[in-house]
């Protein structure tokens, strides 16, 4: 079976005045058809940069993909020309962003904005276009689609706007949807509604999901598998059940330890010291070493992703045979 998205050894760097940052360093991950996969980690660990590299949307003046492959349904996106890439975006992969207010154009009505990818990729016009726009609004469970299609973004609530963004992203029934913290800007009850809408519409269209988040609760509710990212590298890969039951990498353990959970006494809540290292001059070997409670001498060399159990792997020397 061909994976919906198969990233192999991706490397991306950002050139700044202070030096070159290897923001994505040999990242490999896989999303199977119909699967929902989470990419988690602290702010600044390279999650969003991974998404932008897949979409090839990062600013070409400073950001460069220096190696690896991004296979979408078996086809490598890295060597595509800008024109070819524009045909892929919005059609085979699309993206839902964090803040539903700023990612909608304030001066165009909702119908026009949903119509954008329909006109661009499917060549729909006139009545057919209008019909499809209303269908999409219904797909994301907007009750009065006609009214909403005529509205402007500022006339809608945050939850509605985020559902509109989801509708826009799903217009062409893409193979893969990348959702970059889709609910961070919403309050908790609306979060649940939006996630529910997202989940059912993805199932309806058979679209795979790469969910970028730092909210472990959402991961538990939405996803099948998890990749934990730290300082531009994959620290751990596991199924959702395994990652919560038995996190292997010390970073994953620390991340989960700092989440408040109803099934644990608040006393067990721990705070991880330190912060993500400066990627212009990262620590040699394992990048988590300076913050790791189990740091050993061998950690000065790069750890490979070592399989632990059937579906789990951790880039940590604790698990070497």
């Amino acid at each position: 079976m061909t994976a919906a998205l198969d990233i192999r050894g991706l490397r991306t760097e950002i050139r700044t005045r202070a030096g070159t940052m290897q923001v994505i360093d040999d990242v490999s991950l896989r999303v199977d058809p119909g699967e929902a996969v989470a990419l988690v980690g602290e702010s600044g660990c390279g999650k969003s940069m991974t998404a932008l590299s897949v979409m090839r949307l990062a600013d070409p003046r400073t950001v460069r993909i220096t190696g690896g492959q991004v296979l979408l349904d078996g086809k490598d996106l890295v060597p595509l020309s800008d024109d070819e890439m524009r045909d892929v975006r919005g059609r085979a992969i699309s993206m839902v962003f964090q803040d539903p207010m700023t990612f909608l154009n304030p001066v165009l009505n909702i119908g026009t904005q949903i119509g954008n990818p329909l006109r661009r990729h499917l060549g729909l016009r006139g009545a057919a276009l209008e019909r499809r726009v209303l269908e999409l609004l219904e797909l994301v469970r907007i009750t009065d689609p006609r009214q909403v299609a005529r509205s402007f973004p500022h006339e809608l609530s945050g939850g509605m706007r985020q559902r509109v963004l989801i509708a826009i992203a799903l217009t062409c029934s893409p193979k893969l949807l990348i959702a970059d913290e889709p609910t961070t800007a919403l309050d908790v009850t609306i979060q649940a509604q939006v996630l529910d809408v997202l989940k059912t519409s993805l199932r309806e269209l058979g679209t795979s999901l790469l969910l970028i988040t730092h909210n472990m609760g959402i991961v538990a509710g939405m996803c099948d598998r998890v990749y934990v990212m730290y300082a531009g590298r994959i620290a751990e890969e596991a199924t959702v059940d395994d990652v919560f039951a038995a996190p292997k990498h010390p970073y994953t353990q620390g991340l989960l330890g700092s989440v408040l959970r109803h099934d644990r006494p608040p006393a067990s809540f721990t705070v991880m010291g330190g912060s993500v290292p400066n990627l212009i001059d990262p620590p040699a070997g394992c990048r988590f070493r300076p913050r790791c409670p189990h740091a050993m001498d061998i950690c000065h060399t790069d750890p490979p992703l070592i399989p632990v159990g059937d579906n789990q792997g951790a880039a940590c020397w604790l698990y070497r045979q």
């Binding site: 949307l57 524009r86 045909d87 993206m95 962003f97 990612f103 001066v107 661009r120």
Partner: protein, 275 residues
Amino acid sequence: MQEFIYQFKKNRVAVAGAVVIAFMVLLAIIGPAIAPYSPYAFVGPAMQPPSPQFWMGTDDLGRDVLSRFIYGTRISMIVGFLAAATSVILGITLGAVSGYFGGLVDQVLMRTAELFQVLPQFFLALVLVALFGSSYVIIILVIGLLSWPSVARLARSEFLTLRERDYVLSVKALGLGVGRVIFFEILPNAAPALIVAATLQFSLAILLEASLSFIGLGDASYPSWGQMLNGAQQVFRRAWWVAFFPGLGVFLTVAAFNVVGDGLNDMQNPRLRKL
């Protein structure tokens, strides 16, 4: 739109300006139907002062000044509109491209714009009209080509900030083409500032056409306000009305466009907005 009208109405001066513009536009459209005489015909004694028969008097050849004024409105408005349209379309296109792409394209376009800006506009217009002849087409093109840089610089500065907005990233993520992103997604967001610039371009164009005509470089085949002023130079001390009315037309129209432009500009500044 209702909100727009409500806000605009609070600025009395701008409303007065809008009324003047509306009147001039109306006059330009229905003018020939209400003009009492032909603008070219000798209809009475020369240099009659304003009277019930000739409301604005007659000029040195015995033509009706009112009829000529009405036809002149038409010419001045058309020339103003087409010249402003030329400069606004040129300015927006070049400014948008410059601001959106940046880099070398931006450097080349902006240096060109600066070159046009440092040349004395009026004298360049004189030279061009003298070289290529003084038909209205040439006059419109010359005015348009000379006044695009200010619009282009404004459009560029708007695009420099707007291109970094999140919604631009989100439409790029949908695979929309560059032209679509520039003209359908970003441009509407830059419209408020550009509309103000366009009204000012309009008044500048009318003024420039009147100036060219006044010194005798206008298109003599149709009367414009500037043409009438040119003709009035000889008789000004004996027949003030020949110069006064076309001068008033230029003054009122240019002033009206300026106050409307200022009014629109103030509306966009929330700190100057009254409740």
